[in-house]
Amino acid sequence: MRRGKRLETVIKVALLGIVAALLWWFYKEGAFRFILENPKDFVLLVRQHLELVFVSSGLAILCAVPLGIMATRPRFRKLRWFIINFANVGQTIPSLAVIGLTVSYLGLGFKTAVFALWFYSLLPILRNTVAGIESIDPFILDAGRGIGMKPSQILWRLELPNALYAIMAGIRTSVVINVGSAALAFVVGGGGLGDLIFTGIVLYDAGLMLAGAIPTTLLAVVIDSLLGVAERALTPKGLQRSVNPL
């Protein structure tokens, strides 16, 4: 146990060291020259990137969670198959193709990018919501019904709290993927850090490309850990088995 913990620390430190060394190397190579020389442009691109992610992920959460809840209601049992398969098929379409298809309807710009990213973010959240609710021990729900809880009380007091862990995991996965996919918004003129990455690729300028890619990666890591904190705060304590039994 203690040895495992020490090994974990060593590996973490080593990885951080490698990352730091790489960043130093990139910096020496002039990768961040663009950032240092055009701080205002860089801030604008980061803001655009975050806007794309927040708007599309926010809308995805607002749609996928209720849709997942609906798919698990007995009344809509028949819809379940349809919803899940629609989302599954949707996920198999490459994100670039989704963007391309959307352009023909919404034209170029922010809206198109948000729509494509939203569409692409739905599945992980939807699937985890359904799985989370369906994996709840049926005896818990039977007890809830048996003591006279209304269906809405069962949903809010039993199903959602007990599925929250899975739902949050889906949201985390989806948002992190979304931070990466948002770079593609450049293709439809949606802005974001993709501008630097793709321009860098076209101009054979590795520095410019990395000035977009590295902040994108860092954004994904930071947002993921923030969501991790939120997940721990939101998940009911009774489900966090790491709490030591007294």
Binding site: I140, A143, G144, G146, G148, P161, P236, L246
Partner: protein, 338 residues
């Protein structure tokens, strides 16, 4: 009081009709425990779950305290009936206090009243309220979880309780302990209880009456004594087992035998020579095994102050065969001519 009148449940699957419960007539007196006993698939759980309308009735009628349950709103009905299941069904996202207080909360009790009730119940079940109130179900042992499940069902003080093999998943030692505790609590709260079990010993121990089911039909309904003395058919006979005379001994206490000896022989000898003693409240099965383990032909029976009140001899067990079902309640024996 729970009354079943010609209750039938038919499940339809693939154009086939399967009757899970057939024409069941059953009556449970107020304050009594009725154990629904039978092998798995006999319809006992279905019968139980029809009482709080978790399963709809196909035909027939169930009355709870004289009221047809189909005329009562199912949510209100369920809140007025305690419900305990085998897997305890505690809510993992809620603390023990929230779990026990959930029905009062649904009924709109204020926080102060709920807190008092939770404290009361935890104390009744022998769990320190300050220690357990804020814990989560996963931090408790199986036996403790099952006790919380019972506390939750008792929280709003419902007159009726439905219990579906509540002690089935516990190991034998803890099960026996909780059964005793449950009987102790029942002696004070006097609920009308429908109790599902597949364990004949549990049924004998807990039931005021036992209803033996097979393929959705009641084979026999009677007191444990009646069923053990007078099994109605082959199925019941096989189900209660060949050792039913021994099982029947658990229903009779040493003091009952002394009373009988007094009335039939006019005297009660006190054999002070015996080395072993049993208390007057010991059941005959235990007394017999103590008796068999001594060399002397008898054991002394002592009262609660350890005074010898009589003697129990091996020959005393002979007359037990003479008692038959008749109208025997728990612990009261008829006077049989010796």
């Amino acid at each position: 009081m729970i009354t079943f009148k010609k209750v039938t449940k038919i499940y339809e699957s693939d154009n086939k009709q399967v009757a899970a419960v057939k024409d069941v007539d059953l009556h449970v007196e107020k304050g009594h425990i009725c154990v629904l006993l039978g092998p798995s698939g006999c319809g006992k759980t279905t019968l139980l779950r029809m009482v709080n309308r978790l399963i709809p009735i196909t035909s027939g009628k169930i009355e709870v305290d004289g009221k047809d349950i189909n005329t009562v709103d199912p949510i209100q009905l369920r809140r007025s009936i305690g419900y305990v299941i085998q897997q305890n069904g505690l809510f993992p996202n809620m603390t023990i206090e929230e779990n026990i207080g959930i029905i009062p909360k649904l009924l709109g009790w204020d926080a102060e009243r709920r807190r008092k009730r939770v404290k009361e119940l935890l104390e009744m079940l022998g769990l320190n309220p300050d220690e357990y109130r804020d814990r989560y179900p996963f931090e408790l042992s199986g036996g403790q979880q099952q006790r919380i499940g019972i506390a939750r069902a008792l929280a709003a003080d419902p007159p009726i309780m439905l219990m579906d093999e509540p002690f089935g998943s516990l190991d034998p030692v803890i099960r026996e302990h909780i059964q005793n505790e449950f009987l102790r609590i029942q002696a004070t709260v006097k609920k009308t209880i429908l109790f599902v079990s597949h364990d004949i010993d549990e049924a004998i121990k807990l039931g005021n009456t036992i209803a033996i089911l097979k393929d959705g039909e009641v084979m026999q309904h009677g007191t444990p004594f009646e069923i053990l003395s007078n099994p109605k058919n082959e199925f019941v006979k096989n189900f209660i087992g060949k050792d039913s005379p021994i099982k029947r001994l658990t229903l009779i206490k040493a003091k009952d035998v002394l009373k009988h000896k007094k009335t039939s022989q006019g005297k009660a000898e006190t054999g002070e020579l015996n080395s072993a003693t049993v208390s007057a409240d010991t059941d005959l099965k235990t007394a017999l095994s103590i008796l068999l383990s001594t060399n002397a032909g008898g054991v002394n029976v002592v009262d609660e102050w350890d005074r010898i009140v009589g003697e129990l001899k091996l020959s005393d067990f002979g007359w037990l065969n003479k008692i038959h079902a008749a109208d025997i309640g728990r612990g009261e024996l008829p006077e049989v001519a010796g």
